[in-house]
């Protein structure tokens, strides 16, 4: 029995090893293609941890494709060091769960020896994965975490290796609230909020933003992730006679809230956080009611943005969304920072360079990091018209 157990364990371990080997077989062919007189240097490896499966799988393929597009564009120009060094992007699925996210980070750090990690998709996964990179001293750029405690002041201690390229709700929400208050003349709102980390972070930020703008929050109505019908919540909100409804929620519930508001509170608008900033909501007949602060506007006519949209369409035959734009921009910024180093795989140098990097033209607009490593970029306050996000006026 004991021997059998050992054999089983050994087989299992062997399986794990082969499986990992198979999964990460590095496409290193690119290294030879650009040989110059001095000979090619090994690729700079960058890891992307993203939720391809599990609850948050709908951020893909855009999140992956955005980063991949930036890498491919850059490699096509030759690469670093006078065309001798290219970037290799290694993408791993974190299954939308924390422990797989941690394992992916450890794999990037210990096995692939990447220089920088992008991701993971979810804030809840980041809460577990980011400390791993922080402890190992590997720079991380968060590309879709918008909640509290990602950069600056983190629960797990110092987080100076973490950067955020995704517009935090702390920046976006106050802009949204300010614009909505001044244009709609808000006096009283009701917040409908979910019970997840993202929604609760948003709730706190909304609360403060409305207070700062002198708007009363008449009622806060919670729903659970397991609620299927949103009519009762809107009916309860209606009793307060609010000037607008605030949806501190993800896109799915937000769609239902929009529908109910259209039905029960005609002519009232729905103010939302980044959760509403989803292309899945565009077909919704009532999407025009929403007011949301976003990190990216498809309608922005900046050349950098239009070029990005065109390139993305050409390569993937699909429209990019904000997640594509953010991962693309994060990669642009990273490349720009790396160019300023003497050795691209020197993590300490890359970190320093990221801290001072500044790009005036990206799809997200002028981009740099704050001293707290948070993103500094314009906020686009948007609404929806003809199934497109358009600036809110």
């Amino acid at each position: 029995m004991r021997i059998r157990l050992l054999v089983t364990a050994a087989t299992l371990a062997a399986l794990v090893i082969t499986a990992c080997g198979g999964g990460t077989a590095a496409p290193s062919a690119s290294a030879g293609a650009s040989a110059t007189a001095a000979g090619p240097l090994p690729d700079v490896k960058i890891g992307l941890a993203t939720s391809k499966s599990g609850a948050a799988n709908f951020y893909n393929p855009q999140q992956t494709q955005g980063a991949q597009l930036a890498v491919d564009q850059f490699n096509a120009t030759g690469g670093f060091q006078g065309g001798r060094q290219k970037i290799q992007l290694i993408v791993e699925d974190d299954g939308s769960v924390r422990d797989q996210g941690i394992t992916v980070f450890k794999k990037f750090i210990e096995q692939d020896k990447v220089t920088v990690i992008l991701g993971p998709t979810l804030s809840a996964v980041a809460a577990g994965a980011h400390p791993v990179a922080q402890a190992a001293g590997v720079p991380v750029i968060a590309i879709s975490n918008t909640g509290l405690g990602i950069v600056g002041k983190c629960d797990y201690g110092p987080c100076d290796w973490i950067f955020r390229a995704s517009l935090g709700e702390q920046s976006a929400v106050p802009e949204t609230v300010k614009a909505a208050t001044s244009k709609l003349g808000l006096k009283k709102v009701v917040i409908i909020y979910g019970d997840g980390k993202f929604e609760l972070d948003d709730l706190a930020i909304f609360r403060d933003a409305f207070k700062a703008n002198g708007v009363t929050v008449a009622k806060e109505i919670p729903y659970r992730a397991t609620d299927v019908d949103f009519a009762p919540f809107v009916t309860a909100a209606k009793a307060e006679n609010p000037d607008a409804i605030v949806a501190s929620s993800l896109a799915g519930p937000a769609g239902k809230i929009l529908d109910e508001v259209a039905k029960q509170l005609p002519a009232k608008r729905v103010i939302g956080g980044n959760g509403l900033n989803s292309s899945a909501l565009l077909p919704n007949a009532n999407a025009g009611l929403m007011i949301v602060g976003t990190a990216w506007s498809k309608a922005s006519t900046d050349k950098a943005n239009q070029d990005f949209i065109a390139a993305y369409k050409a390569k993937y035959n699909a429209d990019p969304d904000q997640f594509a734009a953010q991962s693309y921009t994060a990669m642009l910024v990273l490349i720009e920072a790396m160019k300023k180093t003497t050795r691209m795989s020197d993590k300490e140098q890359v970190k320093k360079a990221l801290e001072s990097v500044s790009l005036s033209a990206t799809p997200l607009g002028a981009f740099s990091f704050t001293p707290e490593h948070d993103v500094k970029q314009p906020t686009f306050v948007m609404t929806v018209k003809d199934k497109q996000f358009v600036p809110f006026q």
């Binding site: 499966s53 799988n57 709908f58 806060e220 609620d227 299927v228 029960q264 899945a280």
Partner: protein, 292 residues
């Protein structure tokens, strides 16, 4: 107040359609079919396929979804339950095999339609509003309430008044005796699954219509509710499940109106727990006979 009552009846109808099928399978086979939420989701996607891909009108998509999920139910039984039944495996095994099917099927749907929620093509879902006093009633919702009640009446007739229903009831009562009495047990089980899954799928289409929104995980929130509904109504009792469903709908809405926000769910599950302790047979179930 009236509006909240109407909200409660609407959501109660969806719960009822969902839970009745769940309870039916439980009463006949003692199985907790954890794939029932998947069937619910498949119903919505079957309708989407009919409308978006085949270009059919919504009123044709509804029966198509019913039949498609009903057939899927039979397939589910053949794949996940029949092999276990043949060797007399405990109900626990069936729970796990249905979970396995769920895992795979949800992923298949995600590969085809993506993981995010999607909508029916514009203009394919009917929509009209009725104004009653200060309240706004949506035609689709009224129709759903009506249809649900009608379906439950049909189901009651089917189980109580037809030969097939008698066979199903005999099977639920005592499978061995049913076999001895010459009932084609496998056929009756297939019928059970067809009805159960068909109703579950129908519930899925109707909810998807009500919000014009569907996604691969839309059934999961209903799973725990189906447990609650079954326990409150009495395990395996169909009328009990219907009453339990409406009570749950009412309870959820009432607790939203009258209870502090945080206590809402604690209240529902606390109640479920108490019912189990105080009256494990539920409102309409029969107490399992003393075993000695």
């Amino acid at each position: 107040m009236f509006e909240q009552l109407y909200n409660a009846i609407f959501i109660g109808s969806i719960y009822a359609l969902f839970a009745v099928g769940f309870a039916l399978v439980f009463s006949v086979l003692d199985i907790l079919n954890l794939a029932h939420p998947t069937v619910f989701m498949l119903g919505a996607f079957a309708a989407l396929f009919a409308i978006a891909t085949l270009g059919l009108p919504w009123w044709l998509a509804v029966p198509i979804a019913f039949v498609a999920t009903g057939l899927f139910g039979i397939l589910l039984d053949r794949i996940a339950f029949a092999p276990l039944r043949r060797r007399g495996a405990p109900p626990l095994s069936a729970m796990i095999s249905s979970l396995a099917v769920t895992l795979a099927v949800v992923r298949v749907v995600e590969l085809r339609y993506g993981g995010d929620f999607i909508t029916f093509p514009a203009g394919t879902v009917p929509s009209f509003l009725i104004h009653v006093g200060g309240a706004t009633l949506e035609g689709v919702r009224l129709a759903i309430i009506g249809l649900s009640i009608a379906l439950m009446l049909v189901l009651t007739y089917l189980v109580r008044g037809t030969a097939l229903g008698r066979e199903i009831r005999a099977l639920a009562e005592n499978p061995r005796a049913a076999r001895i009495l010459g009932i084609d047990v496998e056929r009756a089980i297939a019928a059970t699954f067809f009805i159960s899954s068909g109703l579950g799928g129908l519930a899925g289409v109707l909810l998807a219509f009500a919000y014009n929104s569907l996604d691969s995980r839309m059934g999961l929130p209903l799973e725990l509710r189906a447990f609650t509904v079954m326990v409150v109504g009495g395990m395996g009792s169909l009328p009990g499940a219907v009453i339990g469903a409406y009570l749950l709908g009412l309870g959820e809405v009432a607790s939203l109106v009258y209870l502090p926000a945080e206590l809402r769910d604690a209240f529902a599950f606390g109640l479920l727990f108490l019912v189990l302790i105080a009256r494990p047979q539920g409102l309409l179930g029969q107490r399992p006979a003393d075993r000695i």
